[in-house]
């Protein structure tokens, strides 16, 4: 192996070890385990090819943006292959999440399900992936200011939706909820 290739090899391993765990967690939150691994494997290849493009001050959100892009491709491919739809029904970069177990906070999940896909993704990036607005902006390819405004509104809408769910107010009918949300009630 030449010194150039060895250098690239070392830089990739260092970067992948830095961002890889976040990439895998990101994918596992949004897809079934097998799909998540397939997506991260593809995202790691993209990371290798674009190693020189990784921003020094935003490597993790940049890598999550790549993972999100790979997830979207997987989702499109799944939609095309109707036979696989059931397998990846919970997979979405913009919509649903991995089904909660029976002991999960069902009112919260119902409230989340009434929000727009954009609101849900913003809240997940913030609360689950633990990203700051500036990092979310890198993942989504939009401005930090835009993220801050939209995130603030998404939090307000979640609080209102949760209040409605727990207060028994009318919410989105179950037919419009993701299938796993409608089925997994206590």
């Amino acid at each position: 192996m030449s010194s150039l290739t060895q250098g690239t090899h070392d830089r990739f391993e260092e970067m992948a070890n830095l961002v890889g765990p976040a990439m895998l967690r990101f994918a596992r939150r949004r897809a079934d385990p097998e799909t998540a691994e397939d997506v991260v494997a593809e995202a790691l290849l993209v990371l290798w090819r674009r190693l020189d493009e990784v921003p020094a001050d935003g490597a993790t959100p940049w890598a999550l943006g790549v993972t999100r892009w790979c997830l979207a491709n997987a989702e499109r491919s799944a939609r095309r292959q109707r036979g696989l739809v059931a397998k990846v029904a919970c997979l979405s970069t913009s919509g649903d999440v991995v089904p909660p177990p029976g002991d999960e906070d069902q009112p919260l999940h119902h409230a989340l399900a009434t929000l727009s896909t954009n609101d849900r993704e913003l809240l997940r990036l913030w609360a689950w992936d633990d990203l700051r607005p500036g990092e979310i902006a890198i993942v989504l390819g939009i401005s930090t200011k835009n993220v801050s405004v939209r995130l603030h509104r998404a939090k307000q809408r979640l609080a209102t939706a949760l209040s409605n769910v727990e207060g028994g107010a009318a919410v989105t009918p179950p037919s419009e909820l993701p299938s796993h949300q409608g089925k997994r009630t206590k």
Binding site: N17, R28, R29, W48, R79, P100, I142, K155
Partner: protein, 204 residues
């Protein structure tokens, strides 16, 4: 959002219930995967670097042949820019909005690799003015679910060489400078061309 809602939202993270065994499994899988990519991708990267160097000459020749301004193919050599995530369809013109004297650059995987926009998808709508394509795979330059191809004003441009996009048909499409590239760089989906796209964009 009050603290209670925030706490509940954070607690709803599906990975909150991960066991130490799951963490170990993830760590092992990642370590193996990273090692596999680093070990097996060296050749591919060397090949890509060689290809980029070669393309400088190809692009320069194309610019001379086609004329630098307004040529459909010359647009293919724009720098690659990822489109921000969006729900609205990406809009691409099916032809330049003015007559063009573009010449075709012979098809090659190397030239294909320089296309800033590349995807495969199926035509879902065609109203004569606009062709809507449902994207099933992005190879380069976008992440929208749909692409809208805007038909040119027939009085302003030559339709020679353009693809006839048919409802229900699957295509492989490339574009540069917001215009579809033809000359074999966009065509009805075929296994051969799909393989070329995969090679060009190092896709799996």
């Amino acid at each position: 959002m009050n603290k209670d809602v925030e706490t509940r939202l954070r607690s709803a993270d599906p990975l909150e219930r991960d066991t130490p065994e799951q963490h170990d499994r993830d760590r092992r899988w990642l370590r193996a995967r990273i090692s596999a990519v680093a070990t097996t991708s060296g050749l591919a990267v060397s090949r890509t670097a060689h290809r980029r160097t070669t393309l400088v000459a190809v692009a320069a020749a194309a610019a001379v042949l086609a004329g630098v301004g307004g040529a459909a193919i010359a647009g293919a050599f724009d720098s690659v820019k990822r489109q921000p995530a969006a729900e609205a369809p990406m809009e691409i013109a099916m032809a330049p909005d003015a007559p063009s004297m573009a010449s075709c650059v012979p098809f090659s995987v190397e030239t294909l690799a320089e296309m800033p926009v590349a995807f495969s998808g199926t035509v879902t709508e065609d109203d004569g003015k606009r062709v809507m394509i449902q994207v099933d795979r992005w190879y380069q330059g976008g992440d929208t679910d749909q692409v809208s191809l805007v038909a040119p004003d027939a009085s302003m441009t030559s339709l020679d060489g353009m693809l006839d996009f048919e409802d229900g048909q699957r295509y492989l499409v490339t574009a540069g400078s917001g215009v579809v590239n033809y000359c074999g760089f966009s065509a009805v989906w075929s296994e051969q061309l799909a393989n070329d796209f995969m090679m060009a964009f190092d896709a799996n």
